[in-house]
């Protein structure tokens, strides 16, 4: 067995999961088929807001191949609010009112999805349409209250004040005001949501395959809803094809599938399709901000005052996390002595919001970065200069932003920005831009700086088990969705255990494999599970030493572990490697297992700077990206291939929400962009080559120095794209206040400036 010569950490190891995945061998929920299973399809509301007068299921029930048609009018149990959502939660099936297009009204159980969809068409639901709320700012006035039990549509408020708050505006030389908006987006993971459940009546246990980001939270919700013990419910996340935050919360389908599996004692499966992904999977980003920025003549920021409304959709979803995280991200990496932030998450008749990659980080940065551009223009100052002036300096670290518990702890923000400008060669660009304009070609430069806050709550665990052949099985509750954790966690364990990478197998997302877990979201897994892998590795070695001591007939204190071998101090000639140790343990019938957890209440702060050059065709309003440069700090990097994948993937996803993607709703709450024909994700042709320069400042708040990297790419994208396009039309005074800037919107904005000239 070869011993690695150097650390696995920092090595661009190709993903161990890829061999199976690229051969199509990955098993996703839709590939799980139980003997005798029934599949579920749902009748979903076509109205944004309506009263349900009555439901006739007779025709649907009679269709051959249909086993049950379920409504909560008949099944009172399904009217109960779903667990895990507060202060108000939807029922599994709507019974008297529907609150958004796509809300489940009836469930069909049938032999296959074809028959189930046929039956769904036969269910007659008589609706009495009600006026729909589709504008958050109006809905916040509470003229019409969606859920009377709440007494208001404002489901959550976030308020922060630091320094003199709003009062500080009076002391600023200028106050720049703007109303800035972000459209609604949909995450659209490649694999839609899905869940399959199998009940064993003999043992009274439920086995659930679930496309979820957190098996343990799902286990808790399911047990609570069904009135079972957690120990009776095993949740496994097989391969999960992307999550981005939206496979993490309470959904009606989870309750319905598991409830029906127990009730009918039949395996039940629901594999959501793309249409359902548009109609029912939680969405994000939609906010409107009224901002006032106080600034002095020399460009020094004085105060930021922001009142905003988040269109949270019909239920809380996980939207409150988004509106709160927005507030915490408003200062960005800049020094703003006075803050007054007032945000409202408002219920409307749309699909609920839940965190989607970034989850408030992009929104907060969009606001501050857009406002810096506006302020620069008002002061006649360079957009670069105003940023330089206000970036938090390394000598100010640790720096408190003025928002409770937000403290930037490491790095050098101005240097990263400077490095970015050098990579772009700012002065050469300005010359090229001027020359191009002579030829009628419009180039624009966008720059933005960001911080990426990650983790900062809870724990995550790792369980290590020595197999008989000397391999080590590593399990964690941090359920991945394609990030490559099986590679990265193995790298960490390989270092601690001094084993080759291929001797470690990682299992993610199985409640039977580890007691507790929180999940993979918010860029937390390397920080939490990565450190847990180290801690668990050390405990595992300690236990292994006990066994080695017995095998080598020595005192445990004399056992040393070096180069992957256990030996007795002073007797290096007699030693055991992991495989030999495993063989020594085997006859005892016992197992070498160690489970350990890492917890931390301190978030990490990665940071960086993005720069992009766009080429805009004034006549077609087409925006092409010529260049995209990123200076990125993600702390100690376990695997640069994976980290780059995260940064590039996030950036491209961000370009989608900056240039193309928008869930458009009509005024009466009808979603209009419900297929990939109308909801445009960026493709390979639209994606620029992305140049990444890493700056690896270890996080001071965890032993390994890991920081989040999953959201870095997406944070500045909307800010930077709008900034670059404005820069291309600086002479025309173009001002953009809506993301995404689709060609149609850019055309409109240019028309307001006199159109093509």
């Amino acid at each position: 067995m070869a011993i690695q010569e150097r650390s696995w950490i920092g090595r661009p190891v190709p993903r161990t999961e890829d061999r199976a995945l690229v051969q199509g061998l990955g098993q996703y929920v839709s590939d799980i088929n139980f003997e005798g299973q029934w599949v579920m399809a749902l009748v979903r509301s076509p109205h944004a807001h309506a009263r349900i007068a009555r439901i006739n299921t007779e025709a649907a029930k009679k269709l051959p191949g249909v086993h049950a048609v379920i409504t909560s009018q008949e099944w009172e149990n399904l009217r109960r609010p779903l667990p895990g959502m507060a202060p108000i939660a939807p029922p599994a099936l709507a019974h008297d009112r529907v609150y958004y297009v796509g809300e489940p009204v009836a469930a069909i159980l049938a032999d296959n999805r074809y028959v189930a969809e046929d039956a769904a068409e036969l269910v007659e639901v008589h609706y009495e349409p009600l006026p729909a709320l589709s504008n958050a700012e109006e809905a916040a006035q509470d003229q019409e209250i969606l859920h009377p039990s709440l007494g208001t549509n404002v489901v959550d408020r976030v308020q922060y004040e630091s320094g003199a708050g709003r009062g500080a505006l009076a002391a600023a030389d200028h106050v720049v005001t703007a109303t800035l908006r972000l459209g609604r987006v949909s995450a659209q993971p490649m694999e839609p949501r899905g869940i399959a459940a199998h009940y064993d009546p003999q043992n009274q246990t439920l086995l659930v395959y679930h496309a979820t980001q957190s098996v343990h939270r799902a286990q808790e919700r399911i047990a609570e809803y069904l009135g079972m013990e957690k120990s009776q419910v095993r949740v496994i996340a097989p391969e999960v094809g992307g999550g981005f935050g939206v496979k993490n919360g309470t959904y009606p389908e989870e309750a319905l599938v598991t409830y029906c599996a127990v009730h009918f004692q039949r395996p039940i499966k629901w594999a959501g399709d793309r249409f359902e992904e548009f109609l029912s999977t939680y969405q994000e980003r939609e906010q409107i901000h009224h901002v006032e920025l106080g600034i002095n003549r020399d460009g020094t920021l004085v105060a930021l005052v922001d009142t905003y409304y988040q269109d949270n959709g019909a239920y809380p979803g996980g939207g409150m996390i988004v509106s709160r995280t927005t507030a915490r991200n408003l200062p960005g990496p800049y020094r703003i002595p006075h803050l007054a932030i007032n945000g409202a998450a408002v219920l409307t008749n749309k699909v609920p919001q839940a965190p989607y990659r970034g989850a408030g980080r992009p929104q907060g940065h969009y606001i501050i970065e857009r406002m810096l551009d506006r302020a620069a223009e008002e002061l006649g100052m360079d957009r670069i200069e105003i940023r330089r002036k206000n970036l938090v300096r390394p000598d100010e670290l640790p720096y408190r932003t003025g928002i409770p518990d937000a403290m930037y702890d490491s790095g050098d923000f101005p240097q990263a920005f400077q490095d970015l400008l050098e990579a772009i060669d700012l002065s050469a660009f300005r010359k090229r831009q001027a020359a191009a304009r002579q030829d009628g070609i419009r180039l624009g430069l966008g720059v933005a700086n960001y911080v990426e806050v990650s983790a900062g709550f809870g724990f995550e665990g790792v369980r290590l088990r020595l197999l008989e052949d000397g391999q080590v099985l590593l399990s964690t509750g941090a359920t991945g969705q394609g990030q490559g954790h099986r590679t990265a966690l193995a790298q960490i364990a390989a270092d601690t255990l001094q084993l080759p990478l291929d001797r470690i197998t990682v299992v993610e997302g199985d409640t039977d494999q580890i007691q507790k877990g929180i999940g993979t979201f918010g860029s937390r897994t390397m920080i939490m599970a990565g450190n847990a892998a180290r801690v668990a590795g050390e405990g595992f070695i300690a236990k292994a030493k006990d066994w080695a001591a017995r095998a080598l007939e020595a005192h445990v204190d004399d056992i040393i572990f070096q180069d992957g071998r256990f030996s007795v101090q002073g007797v290096p000639s007699v030693s055991l490697d992991w495989a030999e140790l495993a063989r020594k343990i085997a006859p005892s019938g016992e197992m070498l297992i160690h489970e350990d957890y890492f917890g931390s209440g301190t978030p990490t702060y990665g940071f960086g700077s993005h720069g992009m050059i766009v080429r805009v065709d004034e006549r077609t309003a087409d925006i092409r990206i010529e260049r995209y440069v990123i200076v990125h700090d993600g702390g100690t990097i376990v695997n640069p291939l994976l980290a780059n994948g995260q940064v590039i993937g996030g950036t491209v996803q961000g370009l989608g929400s900056a240039l193309y993607e928008e869930m458009i709703y009509s005024e009466d709450g009808q979603p209009l962009t419900t297929s990939f024909l109308d909801y445009r994700l960026p493709g390979a042709v639209e994606s620029p080559d992305i140049e990444i320069h890493h700056r690896d400042y270890p996080a001071p708040s965890n032993p390994a120095g890991y920081k989040g990297v999953g959201e870095a790419g997406i944070i500045p994208s909307q800010a930077i794209v709008l900034s670059a396009v404005e820069d291309a039309f600086q002479d025309r005074g173009l001002k953009l206040d809506f993301a995404p800037v689709t060609p149609g919107r850019l055309f409109q904005a240019l028309e307001e400036k006199g159109g093509f000239q």
Binding site: R113, R274, L672, S675, V685, P743, F747
Partner: protein, 295 residues
């Protein structure tokens, strides 16, 4: 996204297919399936009967005729893109193919399906209109030809009777030498927001002998105005003339607002694309003329 149940037939000859079509009222032809199947999966189309014509080898020909080419309805996009006869005789068709969807779609989708589907933002209907293709149409009872300009009636509606299908097209190779097509689509492979295609034939004196202009995406059918084209005869081609033409067309068309483009935006796109298409066509017409003189 599963289609409702349907009866499925797989005829081996055209006669069989036409017979089936005459027997079943609510039957649809299944060609490449690139438009029909998504519509069925979204339950926007509920045909009772599908007649799969993919086995009809009689509809797969690309043949030279006196005027140009005869192309079978089942010829796929990728063949139009790559076939040497297409590239030589009707090169603008091969060029337009690069603008249609993605390779996966082009490997299945057919010329007959594309024309019969009659999407006004599709490229082939625009070329059919520009070059006055003739569609060969058959029923169990008879065969007839329909000129392209009489074939497209409105969004997704054609002059085909319920018992008729397209078996092929006849495309003259005339006027291909000085032709150009250009469009604006938000992403590569998207349906265009607007398409402009133009062809120019020059007189010996370098004035315009004939000019044709067709647009897609700006009306319920491909747009063309032969009277306006006639007014260009005898004029000297120049950027300023193209600007005038662009301006005229911008005002002549009457596009509607939709999710992705306002009517005004489409007008500006049409204007821009027409200028570009004409400039491109002229350049090629001149090149063709030079080659002609050398030969």
């Amino acid at each position: 996204m599963k289609p409702p149940a349907f009866q499925y037939y797989q005829p081996h000859t055209l006669d069989e297919a036409l017979q089936l079509l005459s027997e079943h009222g609510d039957a649809k032809i299944l060609a490449g399936g690139q438009s029909l199947i998504p519509m069925m999966n979204m339950r926007l189309a509920h045909p009772d009967v599908l007649i799969d014509i993919n086995g009809l080898t009689e509809l797969t020909h690309i043949k030279e005729t006196d005027q140009g080419l005869a192309i079978g309805a089942l010829v796929r996009h990728y063949q139009l893109e790559q076939h040497p006869l297409i590239q030589r005789k009707v090169p603008l068709v091969a060029e337009a193919e690069h603008l249609i969807g993605h390779p996966a779609i082009r490997s299945r989708g057919t010329i007959g399906g594309s024309l019969s589907h009659a999407d006004p933002a599709a490229e082939l209907p625009v070329l059919a209109t520009l070059f006055d293709w003739e569609l060969v149409v058959s029923s169990a009872a008879a065969e007839r030809t329909i000129p392209a300009r009489e074939f497209f009636l409105s969004y997704f509606i054609t002059a085909l009777a319920p018992d008729e299908m397209v078996t092929g097209v006849r495309t003259p190779s005339h006027a291909h030498a000085g032709a150009h097509i250009t469009e604006y689509a938000v992403r590569a492979g998207d349906f265009a927001l607007a398409i402009a295609a133009a062809s120019i034939v020059l007189n010996a004196s370098d004035t315009i002998q004939s000019a044709r202009i067709a647009l897609g995406g700006v009306a319920d059918i491909p747009w063309r105005d032969p009277d306006f084209e006639a007014s260009l005869q005898g004029q000297s081609p120049s950027p300023s003339l193209w600007r005038e033409v662009g301006q005229h067309i911008k005002e002549a068309i009457d596009p509607t607002d939709d999710l992705h483009a306002s009517a005004d935006y489409r007008r500006q796109l049409a204007q821009t694309l027409v200028e570009k298409a004409l400039a491109g066509a002229l350049e090629r017409a001149k090149l063709a003329e030079m080659k002609g003189r050398q030969a």
